[in-house]
């Protein structure tokens, strides 16, 4: 009850109880009791490195780029305020349509595939078997290294003409060569890279799966439900908040894919713009074309688009996600 850090004996404490209550009422007006204020200051002091870091390296540059997006800022020559011109110019830019197309295609392919893969593996890894810890670590491993430059270069070698993928697929009559040089399938390289690194959603799925009450499965089994029915009618509904979380996180991440695409396709999104991701184009606009203002407008358009997609997902989730204990309709 008492918020006072009193160390006095019990009788005194009961006396102190009344002023404390008064003090609290007063505090409601003054908002912060003096003792708390001191604590708060210490708290902020400890947070200073983080606050300074995020202001200087994140919030500051973000606000600056928001301003730049309304200018025709050139990396060397500077620029002037031009209002919404950058934002309208985007819709007449053939490269914009191209980059949006590539990015959406990637999101639509990579997110579902990655989530299905991670759910399947998570279900296998929640069984209690000998040595399961090893398998869990082994399946998580790729996500630790996947976004590194090294892996992107290995990926490039795997999918080169005459490389392992080309040779393997040639046995089955494939004549499209390496994915690296083939604009029709090159995006699949990046989809596969993403699917391969399902560690993060897998761990979350595993945590979710272990939360599903065993008695639900037992009850259903007694009623004669098979494995498939139990998966559809018990596991999926009970897991739906976790699925929603993973879909959201993976979608937001997929929209921002940059590193591997940049290393594999370069600033030109080669071959033939087939890996011209939205973020790669932003990079090229800013650091090859030097059009920082226009590039900033592209970046903010991505923020807007991801925001809208997230909003739509939250709306859709209302009807699709089941939260146990909230079903008193």
């Amino acid at each position: 009850m008492s918020a006072s850090p009193s160390t006095t004996a019990p009788p005194a404490a009961s006396e102190a109880g009344a002023p404390t209550a008064n003090e609290r009422r007063g505090a409601a007006k003054r908002r912060t009791p003096p003792a708390r204020r001191g604590e708060r200051l210490v708290g902020y002091t400890f947070m200073t490195p983080w606050i300074v870091g995020s202001l200087v390296f994140t919030v500051g540059p973000m606000l600056w780029s928001l301003y730049l997006s309304f200018t025709d800022y050139h990396l060397i020559l500077g620029g002037d305020f031009i209002g919404l011109e950058n934002y309208t110019a985007m819709f007449n830019d053939p490269m914009f349509a191209r980059a949006v197309k590539v990015t959406l295609l990637y999101v639509l392919l990579a997110v579902p595939l990655k989530l299905v893969a991670s759910l399947v593996v998570a279900m296998l890894l929640t069984q209690s078997r000998r040595g399961i810890g090893f398998y869990r670590a082994a399946f998580y491993m790729p996500s630790l290294i996947a976004m590194s430059v090294g892996i992107a270069i290995v990926w490039k070698a795997l999918f080169a003409g005459g490389g392992p993928q080309d040779q393997f697929m040639s046995w089955f009559g494939w004549d499209g060569g390496g994915f690296i040089g083939n604009p029709d399938v090159s995006i699949l390289m990046l989809v596969l890279l993403s699917v391969w690194t399902f560690g993060a959603p897998m761990v979350i799925f595993m945590a979710g799966l272990l939360q599903v009450p065993g008695e639900l499965h037992e009850a259903a089994e007694v009623d004669g439900a098979g494995k498939w029915h139990r998966f559809i009618h018990i596991t999926i509904p009970m897991l739906s908040p976790v699925i929603f979380f993973n879909v959201l996180m993976e979608t937001v991440h997929a929209f921002q894919l940059f590193g591997p695409a940049f290393i594999i396709g370069g600033t030109a999104g080669g071959p033939a713009w087939s890996t011209l991701f939205y973020t790669v184009r932003i990079y090229a606009l800013a650091f090859v074309d030097l059009r920082m203002g226009y590039a900033s407008a592209w970046a903010w358009m991505l923020v807007l688009a991801v925001g809208v997609v997230t909003l739509i997902m939250f709306r859709a989730a209302k009807n699709l996600v089941y939260y146990a204990g909230e079903d008193n309709k």
Binding site: H74, A272, D289, R291
Partner: protein
């Protein structure tokens, strides 16, 4: 109410600790005072693009410089060409350029017009340059760079393959059609996985050559607009269409994966390129049992090859340098010190100074470059003015769009129209 007596004190302590840390940090950052002795040297930075080989000899030359100038310490760094320029562009924005760095003629306006380069008149020694070389180091009549070496375009070809398959050695003035016919003879004769020549349409430098052969130019005199029509670009991009369709030149699916040139990989019989590249290719080609030779590039007009002597590379000093004197010393040393010249050789091209030319050791491949340059001297004409700042981006766009044509995603005309839209936007952005 009883307050915790330690709270205040702890806060005081924290403040004190923070203050102490700040003071310590400030002390660590403070200047070391005047520098320039062996114990307390001036530090300057020097960066260039190139491969390991170039890095090795350049570092040797820099070490010699430091030995002779005890008071100066040089930090060196290098990267490959695209990475180098991506890095420099970012650093240019943050005004964080190295004191001395290697410059490309095509980027001179981009860096020079922003006032980022130190005017060099009277700062470095300019008395010894070969004729005509300093002209390409000026922007608006102000000297902002010094050429290291010069080069010009040529046709580098496998003399052994040409001879073995009965193709006559190319002579100055021979036509683009003849070159195409030679490739058509060579490719089938060389067999699977080898080609008589590369697809030359994707390089804007070669189109510039082609335009110069018609008396035109790529950019206008002021260097702020394209000086040709979309139809001409569409025509240029179709000059290799038949060869490409017939498989006489390597397909884009193959070349996109190349990390080395086709000549070095022993799969390409000829390539248009800068003549100073030839000595670099020679050791590898000879190890493969081949011989390289240099000829003039193909032309539309036997009397006008469109050639000009271009500075292959330049050295510049950052306008923001605090050590102009030491930087100038390094530049003078690299271009004028006989020992440094010996170490650097012709890796960057045939030296631009007379002293360089006298002191450089000439191997047979370099001699071939010198002979070639002498043989086309009568064809050399005035260099084009320094290209616009956007030329780096335009060059990239040129290659990107030609790739669309190669993949059949766009027709040459569609790609040419889009190139003009994009180039106009880029050029407008710097007005």
């Amino acid at each position: 109410m009883i307050r915790d007596p330690y709270r205040l004190r702890r806060r005081t302590l924290l403040t004190g600790a923070a203050a102490a840390a700040t003071v310590a940090a400030a002390a660590a950052c403070s200047d070391d005072g005047p520098a320039g002795t062996a114990d307390d040297p001036i530090e300057i930075s020097f960066e260039w693009w190139g491969d390991e080989n170039r890095a090795g000899i350049t570092t040797d030359a820099v070490n010699l410089f430091m030995e002779k100038n005890k008071g100066i310490k040089v930090q060196t760094n290098f990267a490959d060409f695209p990475t180098y320029w991506e890095g420099m562009t970012g650093r240019m924005a943050s005004r964080d350029l190295p004191d001395v760095f290697q410059m490309d003629y095509s980027r001179l306006r981009q860096f020079g017009s922003g006032g980022l380069l130190l005017p060099l008149e009277g700062v470095v020694d300019t008395s010894d340059f070969r004729e005509g070389f300093l002209d390409t180091a000026k922007l608006n009549d102000q000297l902002i760079a010094v050429p290291i070496a010069g080069n010009t375009l040529g046709l580098i070809y496998r003399a052994d393959w040409f001879e073995a398959h009965g193709v006559a050695a190319p002579m100055p003035g021979y036509s683009w059609d003849q070159y195409g016919a030679d490739i058509t003879t060579l490719t089938p004769a060389l067999g699977e996985g080898k080609w008589g020549g590369g697809d030359w349409s994707g390089q804007y430098h070669f189109m510039e050559l082609w335009l110069r052969q018609q008396g035109g130019s790529f950019y206008n005199e002021d260097g702020n607009a394209l000086n040709f029509e979309p139809a001409q670009l569409a025509e240029w991009w179709t000059t290799t269409a038949d060869l490409y369709a017939a498989g006489m030149v390597p397909p884009v699916e193959t070349t996109i994966e190349w990390v080395e040139g086709g000549l070095v990989q022993d799969v390409l019989g000829s390539e248009i390129g800068w003549d100073n590249f030839m000595p670099g290719y020679t050791p590898t080609v000879e190890a493969n049992g081949g011989t390289l030779a240099l000829a003039a590039p193909p032309s539309l007009d036997a009397a006008n090859l469109g050639l000009y002597l271009k500075p292959s590379m330049q050295l510049v000093i950052s306008g923001a340098t605090e050590q102009a004197e030491a930087s100038a010393k390094l530049v003078d040393f690299l271009l004028g010190d006989p020992e440094a010249i010996k170490i650097l050789g012709t890796n960057r091209g045939v030296p631009a100074t007379n002293k360089g030319l006298e002191n450089v050791e000439i191997d047979p491949a370099t001699q071939a470059v010198l002979d070639y340059e002498a043989s086309v001297e009568q064809y050399l004409t005035t260099p084009p003015p320094a290209p616009p700042a956007a030329t780096g981006a335009i060059e990239v766009k040129f290659g990107e769009l030609y790739q669309q044509v190669q993949y059949g995603e766009m027709t040459a005309q569609e790609a040419a129209d889009l190139f003009f839209t994009e180039a106009d936007t880029l050029l407008a952005a710097e007005q």
